[in-house]
């Protein structure tokens, strides 16, 4: 077992990282003065991990889409009772989520955190899948899929991903489809569980009103040592081109929306640095003080929902601009012109330094929130960097970094415009 204290150079904030003898990575941040405890126990297993093998396996296994999310639902059922009941008996709030690249189980509480941590560590390590409980879940998840299919924000996003990625499973809906989840059975769930819920592939993150000593004592008691079985996940080769430049769907909605996505090259070596450069580039391009923003706003082409984000992970990296608009093609045209202008004229240093200040302010404010800290610790570990690296990395970036990113990555030929128009 190893232990290190990780400290931010910029703010002095710190947390503890323990590599537990069981194989689990544990992040702990004691936050005196706070009442809440927030804990996440997660596995690096999300909707994109559909093809995998262990070192001892001869061939890769392919599983139906949506199985990571299905597994998340089913882990909430023990042999004796539901997990919700166990947490209800302590008063904690519990939940879980599956994203593209991870599944996390979590609780939030102000009392009995040691008991809640025991429940969390115990139930995630105790799968119980039967034909009956798998069949029952098909109806609930079927309704969840129906609900997300009526969500235009979800549809405009996935339509964009499908038009951007040829073969990367990022384009697949996290919950799968009614058809794909119908192929899931208890055996497949156990197969996935045994593969991905190995403690060497998992992380515990806990923050708030806690004691490191107590947390580690519970971990020592409840974590079963796991042999690292050499998990390997693969993704099909993804061409550096898009599938199609435009996709439009008409829906019964109140305001038309769009996603304008730029497909960029992933960089696993310098993931965080590239992600932060891209984040500053997005802020620079969507800043509400710019001439472009105010012209589009004044001409009622965009409204104050206009913004951008970086969407990146293993094997995918994109920059997405989105908002409500009846004129998404004009937005695209304006964005292309603005990117060309910046590429030719360079970055305004004064504006860049203001944007960096704002980013710094946002990040520092987040350090005082139990939930945000615990979530950031697990996300950063799974993405391959340390919890406070974000603040330190942002402070080192230059205007030239952002300019080079805009010039080399925001290319018109790698752009997808996805629109949901109101009927």
């Amino acid at each position: 077992m190893s232990r290190e204290i990780i400290t931010s150079k910029r703010t002095g904030d710190s947390c503890v990282h323990v590599k537990h003898k069981s194989g689990l990575d544990i992040y702990i941040r004691e936050m005196p003065g706070f009442s809440t405890v927030y804990a996440l126990f997660g596995t690096k297993y999300g909707s994109v991990n559909t093809t995998f093998k262990l070192a001892a396996d001869e061939n890769y296994t392919e599983v139906p889409n949506g199985i990571a999310h299905f597994l998340e639902h089913k882990l909430f059922e023990n042999e004796d009772c539901g997990v919700f009941e166990l947490f209800a008996a302590t008063g904690a709030q519990c939940n879980a989520y599956t994203s593209f690249d991870k599944t996390c189980y979590l609780f939030s509480c102000t009392q009995n955190y040691t008991e809640n941590l025991r429940i969390l560590l115990d139930f995630v390590q105790k799968p119980y899948f039967t034909k009956e409980n798998v069949d029952k879940e098909q109806g609930i998840i079927g309704q969840e899929i129906c609900m997300t299919n009526d969500n235009p924000e979800w549809r405009v996003f996935f339509n964009m991903l499908k038009s951007m990625y040829h073969s990367h499973p990022i384009q697949i809906d996290i919950a799968g489809t009614q058809e794909s989840i119908a192929k899931i059975d208890a055996d497949l769930l156990y197969k996935c569980y045994d593969t991905f819920y190995n403690l060497n592939n998992m992380t515990l993150s806990i923050a708030g009103n806690i004691s490191e000593e107590e947390v580690l004592a519970i971990c020592n008691e409840l974590l079963r040592p796991c042999e690292d079985k050499g998990l390997e996940t693969v993704f099909p080769d993804e061409p550096d081109t898009i599938v199609q430049a435009e996709i439009t769907e008409k829906n019964d909605i109140g305001a038309s929306i769009f996603h304008l996505g730029f497909k960029c090259r992933p960089d696993s070596e310098n993931f965080l640095r590239k992600e932060m450069i891209a984040t500053l580039a997005v802020t620079y391009l969507t800043d509400a003080s710019t001439e472009m923003y105010n012209r589009l706003l004044s001409e009622e082409i965009i409204n104050n929902s206009f913004g951008g984000e970086v969407f990146a992970g293993e094997g995918y990296f994109s920059v997405i601009f989105s908002g409500e608009s009846e004129y998404p093609h004009k937005v695209r045209e304006a964005m292309f012109e603005e990117i060309q202008r910046i590429s030719a004229e360079g970055i305004d240093e004064k504006m860049f330094s203001r944007i960096k200040k704002a980013a710094y302010g946002d990040l520092v404010r987040q350090l005082c929130n139990v939930t945000t800290i615990a979530s950031a610790m697990i996300s950063s570990h799974m993405a391959g960097f340390k919890p406070f690296d974000v603040v330190d990395t942002v402070s080192e970036l230059t205007a030239e970094d952002v300019l080079q990113f805009i010039k080399s990555e925001l290319l018109s030929e790698k752009t997808v415009l996805s629109v949901i128009e109101k009927i």
Partner: protein
């Protein structure tokens, strides 16, 4: 933590919370007036206030300044409590001691907020036309985009049906056509009236004791002639003689349903507990039975408005299963009326409440929300005192309260293809 509440002017309350563990400050200023025909003017007016002021003459200039102040936030909203319109200005910023360049961010933000509130970008003809046009459009866009979120839209429609004939029927912004009719002049007149007549409640959360903020507001409001009434927020909605059902069809994949119940009891604490047991947690009767046992829904939950004495239960469900879900929701309510509440259900409701109220103080929003609720209830207690009162609720009181809960109206959003 240090809490104080002071009257800093005629019908103007100022709550100050100092908690050293934070590294940022938040301020919420509420202007409260009865919901009426000026509702949309008021909504557009506060939006104009937060979008620009006499020194920051555009949305661009305002955003640039906020960004310079380490990404500070400043926004407005318009909501309802009982039959009152609650117009809110909210701001948050990084504590000055974290400023890299030594700025006094609190002083700068106080100036920005008070400039906006007391010196908006306007002249005798009303708010500046360009800022006004965009501020008004923001509100129209918010109203239109509600239909993008089908669950939210279902709740909005259910509210319109349940509160038919009442001033709050269309929510905090008023009806869309009323917003469309707002002019720069009418919004500006509404703004002036708000400053002099609205009941005002300010809450400031900070890591350092700093009286400057309070004193600036005291001084600025002191220069205004005020003629403001105090309001009460409890205003029960009358129940319809017979339950009403409204159905609409859309091109959607999943049907949605919202049932509005109204209660005729003053035992609000018992209704609070009842709601948690009925549909307020993952071990509630609705979750366990409608979702887990019958597999009809992904979500089926309820929420309470204590000021209007209503409870709304909603779910997303296949059209063909609406009747089954409706029957089970009624069935579970009947179970509570009969007193069929297990010890575990009651205990887990108590524990959930304890968990919720003892996390008080971990975020700015928890402080602001608690003290704002105290103000609305006109009852200043601590979360622990409030919890003690809730812990005194018995199964018998919950069952008795549930007997007084009756269905008022139902809204169905139906998918066309299922016909």
């Amino acid at each position: 933590m240090n809490y104080t509440r002071t009257e800093i002017g005629s019908n103007i309350g100022f709550t100050s919370v100092v908690d050293k563990k934070f590294n940022s400050c938040s301020l919420q200023l509420l202007m409260i007036v009865p919901m009426g025909e000026n509702a949309s003017d008021n909504s557009v007016a506060v939006n104009c206030i937060s979008d620009a002021n006499s020194k920051l003459n555009s949305i661009a200039a305002m955003n640039e300044r906020l960004s310079e102040l380490y990404g500070a936030g400043f926004s407005s909203s318009s909501t309802i409590r009982g039959d009152m319109q609650v117009l809110s200005l909210s701001a948050s910023w990084l504590c000055s001691r974290f400023a890299i360049d030594g700025e006094d961010i609190t002083a700068e933000m106080t100036e920005l907020i008070t400039d906006s509130l007391f010196s908006p970008f306007a002249d005798e003809n009303g708010f500046d036309e360009s800022v006004f046009r965009l501020s008004k459009k923001e509100i129209l866009d918010i109203i239109d985009s509600r239909f993008n979120n089908k669950r939210e839209y279902t709740i909005v429609k259910a509210r319109e049906i349940a509160f038919e004939g009442e001033p709050i029927r269309y929510g905090g912004y008023g009806p869309r056509e009323q917003v469309e009719a707002v002019t720069p002049k009418s919004a500006y007149e509404a703004y002036k009236k708000l400053l002099s007549t609205a009941q005002i409640e300010i809450c400031f959360v900070s890591p350092d004791a700093d009286n400057r903020v309070q004193e600036v507001f005291r001084e600025k409001f002191g220069a205004i002639e005020r003629n403001s009434a105090s309001h009460t927020f409890y205003s029960p909605s009358p129940i319809k003689p017979e339950p009403v059902l409204v159905q609409e069809e859309f091109d959607v994949r999943q049907a949605k349903m919202a049932m509005t119940f109204k209660f005729d009891t003053d035992d609000i604490d018992a209704v609070h507990l009842m709601c948690i047991i009925f549909g307020g947690s993952p071990v509630s009767k609705l979750f366990v039975n409608v979702r887990e046992k019958l597999s009809l829904c992904y979500y089926c939950a309820c929420s309470m408005s204590e000021y209007k004495k209503t409870i709304t239960a909603d779910c997303g469900v296949e059209r063909e299963n609406i009747e089954k879900a409706t029957a089970e929701i009624h069935n579970q309510l009947d179970e509570i009326r009969k007193g069929n509440i297990t010890d575990e259900e009651l205990q887990s409701a108590f524990l959930a409440l304890e968990n919720a109220y003892t996390s008080f103080g971990d975020t700015h929003s928890s402080y602001i929300s608690w003290y704002t609720d105290c103000f609305f209830r006109n009852e200043y207690t601590t979360p622990n005192e409030y919890l003690e009162r809730l812990f005194a609720v018995t199964k018998e009181r919950i069952a008795a309260a549930a007997v007084n809960v009756r269905l008022d109206s139902t809204y169905h959003m139906l998918n066309k293809e299922a016909e």
